[in-house]
Subunit: 84 residues, 2 copies
């Protein structure tokens, strides 16, 4: 079965987000009143697995591999893909 | 009223995603059968607006400012924030 995963990687609460600060400065100078800006990564992928449970385990292992546990946290969504 | 926006910026269909390709190579070498990997940005921010409509307009103008219309597309979610 094919699954589609969307993994969201963000900085932990309290970790300085230089990208977010820079973007906030730009947007504020352009007149937007945006604040508390955080920039994260979103990774979309497809994978094959025999069950949803196995797909979850694979995605969690992949996400743990590509994130820095000291500074980042990840969440993910998983859905089965109908193969035409 | 305070609103929380989540803006998702991704490459347009068909645009080469070097980050996605590189990540796919790493994950496949580690034994994961992930494919069609796309890496995008997610921007979370807060803003004040007098109505949801005004908040939508501000978020769309901000997102248009920070994305490259030739290569990127954005989607966003907006929700009102209960001020304690």
């Amino acid at each position: 079965m094919t699954y589609h995963a969307t993994i969201l990687v963000e900085l932990k609460e309290g970790i300085l987000d230089p990208q977010g600060r820079a973007l906030e400065g730009v947007l504020n100078r352009l007149g937007f009143n945006a604040r508390n800006i955080q920039v994260g990564k979103v990774i979309e992928l497809e994978l094959d697995a025999s069950s949803e449970e196995e797909a979850r385990q694979q995605v969690e292992r992949m996400a743990s591999t590509i994130t820095n546990p000291v500074m980042e946290v990840f969440t993910y969504q998983l859905k089965a893909v109908e193969v035409a």
